[in-house]
């Protein structure tokens, strides 16, 4: 079964994949804040403050006003992850992180940052079996 076919069988989730890129005409804070502004009808100021707080948690608050082309792939990934956390869905699915972040060798630093950011959501990482070696020794359970 293909990854996306499997994802479609799951309940409500927020997706982080190549098919859900950041919006290029918004900066990083606006990309994150947009979800809360629309879903929870928060004011722009409140939603952007929440976005800034999350960026500060992992020490990348300096990229808040940057556009997509001014950030590296790791920063973009973190912003996509924070954006996923902003939605009401309890499941966050990350699809093939090694294709999203260039030159990533070890998944553990990503998992550490996810643990700092996450507040009670289920985080699922979907990857191909060929990337199995990248996950060996990591702190998260692996299900084949």
């Amino acid at each position: 079964m293909e990854i996306y076919e499997y994802i479609d069988t799951r309940e409500e989730y927020s997706l982080i994949s190549r098919d859900t890129p950041l919006i290029s005409n918004l900066n990083m804070i606006e990309n994150i804040a947009l979800i809360k502004e629309v879903h929870e009808r928060l004011s722009i100021e409140k939603a952007e403050n929440i976005a800034k707080e999350y960026l500060e948690k992992i020490g990348i608050s300096d990229i808040g006003l940057n556009r997509l082309n001014e950030c590296n792939s790791l920063e973009i990934f973190y912003v996509m992850f924070i954006r996923a956390l902003m939605s009401k869905e309890m499941n966050v699915i990350i699809v093939t992180p090694f294709s999203l972040i260039s030159n990533l060798r070890d998944i553990q630093p990503i998992i550490d940052s996810i643990e700092i950011l996450n507040e009670g959501k289920n985080i699922l990482i979907f990857d191909n079996i060929t990337n199995k070696s990248h996950y060996e020794g990591s702190s998260c359970p692996i299900v084949k």
């Binding site: 927020s14 997706l15 190549r18 098919d19 859900t20 890129p21 950041l22 919006i23 290029s24 005409n25 947009l34 979800i35 502004e37 629309v38 879903h39 009808r41 928060l42 004011s43 722009i44 939603a47 954006r83 939605s87």
Partner: protein, 262 residues
């Protein structure tokens, strides 16, 4: 051979009617969202403000300059012709009908279509190809509320307000020409215009501007939305969108002339 020809005609007709129905459905959905208060979220209002700024405010210097140059020349020609054909008695209604009912909304719509219509068509097409529209769908952000409605409303507001500015500039230029051709003083010119203008003229200006504004934004958005998955589809989408938009602008103009002549 004949069967294939007839089948070809049938296929073309069905696909044309089907895409026309799709476009009408899209227009109807946009109109429904426009009157729904829940569409107006803080994010939508922010996009609307930005769109009004980019569509109506940044263009003002260029627009005023074009209004002074083209508007003055055209109103000058109209006044010169009216004088040549001894129509001085009707000069007020000629100026009002030409400037307010016809030229101002039409010229403004053409300028905004060229400037913002192409930009919006490209923007939506690029977002479509880059899968950014898919992102919005995945995160359950209504494309119409967040992306399309602010652009459509900004088009309506921008074309209406710029048409009024254009009409005022043309009427001011009209005074200069009536002064030279008819030795008319400012007081008389104002008196003639006030006597000639009717509520009907203002309603026509308003309705035409709204129709132009709606079409000028809706057609490029729809065209951008229908772009294929490749970057090479973007110029084709813009080209098709612009051709459809210009046909729609001329159609609105012709329809308004027909309705006025009834």
């Amino acid at each position: 051979m004949i069967i294939r020809f007839v089948e070809g005609i049938g296929y073309k007709t069905v696909s044309t009617l089907s895409s026309f129905y799709e476009a009408l459905k899209f227009t109807f959905i946009c109109l429904v969202h426009m009157v729904r208060p829940s569409s107006y979220t803080s994010a939508m209002r922010m996009v609307l403000t930005k769109q009004i700024y980019f569509t109506a405010v940044t263009i003002i210097p260029l627009f005023v300059m074009m209004a002074i140059i083209f508007g003055s020349i055209i109103i000058g020609v109209v006044i010169a012709l009216a004088t040549q054909y001894n129509l001085q008695d009707s000069i007020g209604s000629i100026i009002i009908t030409f400037v307010i009912d016809e030229f101002s909304p039409f010229f403004t719509a053409l300028l905004i279509a060229l400037r913002s219509g192409t930009a919006i068509n490209t923007e939506i097409a690029v977002m479509n190809v880059n899968k950014e529209l898919n992102t919005l769908r995945e995160y359950k952000i209504d494309l119409i509320d967040y992306l399309f409605l602010p652009r459509i409303i900004s088009g309506i507001i921008s074309i209406t307000s710029l048409s009024i500015i254009f009409a005022l500039i043309m009427l001011s230029s009209g005074y200069v020409f009536t002064l030279f051709y008819m030795n008319m003083d400012l007081h008389t010119y104002k008196y003639i215009l006030i006597n000639a203008i009717e509520v009907k003229d203002l309603i026509i200006l308003l309705l035409k501007s709204i129709a132009f504004g709606f079409a000028t934004m809706l057609i490029p958005i729809y065209s951008g939305l229908k772009t294929g998955a490749a970057y090479t589809a973007i110029p084709i989408s813009v080209l098709n969108g612009m051709v459809k938009l210009f046909i729609a602008i001329f159609l609105i103009e012709v329809l308004s002339l027909l309705i006025q002549s009834l």
